[in-house]
Symmetry: C2
Subunit: 77 residues, 2 copies
């Protein structure tokens, strides 16, 4: 099975969601990407359909936007 990818930006909403999700999902099955520290991944995230963080991209390619921390556009530039 492909891994899920959890995108976040270090905001309190992101950290809270990350903590909760990783209690529910096998941590081995999730790759975690901090878009604030890895801006070169913004293109991948947008291509996957990400609009905001935190969000989980599932192995089937669906994007689950979880609560709302920051818009992707706020992380650019």
């Amino acid at each position: 099975m492909n891994k899920s990818i959890f995108y976040h930006a270090g905001c309190p909403v992101c950290v809270s969601a990350e903590h909760d999700l990783l209690n529910l999902i096998d941590p081995e099955s999730v790759e975690i990407i901090h878009l604030g520290e890895n801006k070169e991944k913004l293109g991948d995230a947008q291509a996957a359909g990400l609009k905001s963080v935190p969000a989980l991209v599932t192995p089937s390619g669906n994007v689950l936007h979880i609560n709302f921390g920051a818009a992707l556009s706020d992380l650019q530039g």
Copy 2:
């Protein structure tokens, strides 16, 4: 460990999120409540902090609103 509760209302966004989440989380650890068919649960959902569906209430009591299907107020009355 307490169960998580996944609240939904049968909308396409809800069903898609449910399908994806249940592939990632042990189905035994999640209770699923259809608020459209169980309106008597709306009070519990609001008390938990739910604003919209689909949403997952984690064992620690945090509410993860996932994407956006419907506002809770649309399910009332």
